[in-house]
Subunit: 304 residues, 2 copies
């Protein structure tokens, strides 16, 4: 059997200093068995997102080394950027990939969280699937009001005692949010119109928070360079709401407003399962599963 | 860089003797670096199809060992079955998969063909992409009239001299056809009708030989157990005619005849690229490529 593979998507509060970003990437790359998959740097947000994956042990070690490096190099007191943040390594979710389960990711989040709390002295809040406290399961709830407000909740309210580490923020690294979640797909659909209100109306109609599709966050956005507008989405659980359901819902909503779809695009990476799911739907292919796919069968056979 | 991976789909003239089939499979399995992916046995056709894959050297060795074993165990003189055949190991195509090219498969076909001719004394005809002789590029043309007719062409016509090996058939193993081709997708579409003539009319309309879609073979078939009919197809080059084009063409032809599609199904394996291509089409996803797919990126990064 092949080892389970887990992904980690680390959000760090550094998007400007190339040396620091390089050091963060190296902290991951030097761990045997961990692969750096993607590096996204945003100067305005003053933030970088490092995606890496590997066996549970390798990913846990790479995650810890990354937090240690960012604690050494990033001082939140010197930080300003558009993106809300409460820590040097702000958010650290673990995500199940090939052969791994959500419960393994929850275990990993707790293991890394405990090390970060004990060895680096940073308060850690567990979130999403790793948390069972409903008032602090969501990232937005933990981050509400920024670090100063969170610090005062930690001081005055027992229900805001961190899951690991000290009771008050680290002097330079702040706090950390560590957890487990499903793969997130960032997916945009471009509409054949200049009218931003149409993209906004469709986004409002389909997003979960307005009673639309489950596990969908959506915004209407203007793309000045393309002279068009798009519905920009995060699909937080593609097994619950698959890509083709999102595509067809947006298509129908657009058609009602006399608008067609130009194309769709992905930002970042997508799990193979989500692509297979879309093809199987469109070809009415009831029985398609990964065992039918030559390369998947080849890898499984090669692994014995 | 990862080694290129090549697939081989061996068609052997044995579908009844379990011991022989087991020995054929073992000949492949015992070669390090070759993986047996699939084994399909047909009692009526008296034939088995063994799919295996691995690095070029491993696949070449496994293919040769398989031919040697089938030469030892199968006597064509004792053989009867519905399927046309001219050899103990009847047909042996090499197929490019991950990281490999058609030209590597052509080289491999010639290398294995030469060994089979020289060491086992079996005449070898190259076919498809491995042949540059138009009158014997297609399997049907080589196999026309069965082994007796082919033997007399070999005897009397210089343009039927084999590419490798002796000028007349091996006494028990006959001749062999070795070559290189694109991955073949066996794909069926089930129609919501009992009327076989509708499936037959659609098959006739879409198949290449009647001026339909390129690289498509199609037949109308009755499925008595399901009380329905299907268009049963072989797609011989999915890059030329993708799955979604086939699906939509059949759908439109069926609609013209007042019939809808129940579902579609795969027989055997499909390359991941063909599935991705279908999803990308249906989601108007112009820019999708395998680099966007998390698992693919992970493997490439892990391989350095």
């Amino acid at each position: 059997m092949a080892e389970p593979i887990i992904e980690c998507v680390a959000n760090c509060s550094e998007g400007r200093n190339a040396e620091t970003i390089h050091a963060l990437a190296e902290a991951i790359r030097t761990v045997k068995g961990a692969s750096l998959l993607d590096r996204h740097v945003d100067v305005d947000h003053h933030r970088c997102v490092l995606s890496f994956a590997g066996s549970p042990d390798a990913v846990a070690q790479a995650a810890f080394d990354l937090v240690k490096t960012s604690t050494r190099l990033i001082d939140l007191n010197q930080h300003s950027g558009q993106h809300p943040r409460i820590g040097a390594t702000d958010v650290l979710p673990f995500i199940p990939l090939e052969g791994s389960t959500m419960s393994q990711c929850v275990d990993l989040a707790k293991k890394v969280g405990k090390r970060v709390g004990d060895e680096l002295g940073i308060p850690v809040f567990l979130y999403e699937e790793a948390s069972d406290q409903s008032h602090r399961k969501r990232l937005e709830d933990i981050r509400r009001g920024g670090l100063p407000r969170l610090a005062s909740r930690m001081e005055s309210d027992l229900s805001w005692k961190p899951d690991f580490g000290p009771a008050s923020p680290h002097p330079t690294a702040g706090v950390m949010v560590i957890g487990a979640r499903h793969p997130l797909i960032a997916y945009n659909i471009l509409l054949n119109t200049h009218d931003l209100t149409i993209a906004q109306a469709i986004a409002k109609k389909i997003r979960t928070s307005n009673g639309g599709l489950p596990a969908v966050k959506a915004l209407g956005m203007e793309l000045k360079t393309k002279g068009a507008v798009q519905v920009s989405m995060n699909l937080t659980n593609f097994r619950q709401t698959p890509l083709h359901v999102v595509f067809e819902t947006v298509k129908a909503e657009a058609a009602q407003r006399g608008v067609s779809i130009v194309n769709s695009e992905l930002v970042g990476l997508i799990p193979q399962e989500a692509v297979n799911q879309a093809a199987a739907h469109d070809l009415k292919w009831d029985s398609l599963n990964s065992w039918h796919i030559l390369e998947t069968r080849l890898r499984r056979c090669a692994e014995g």
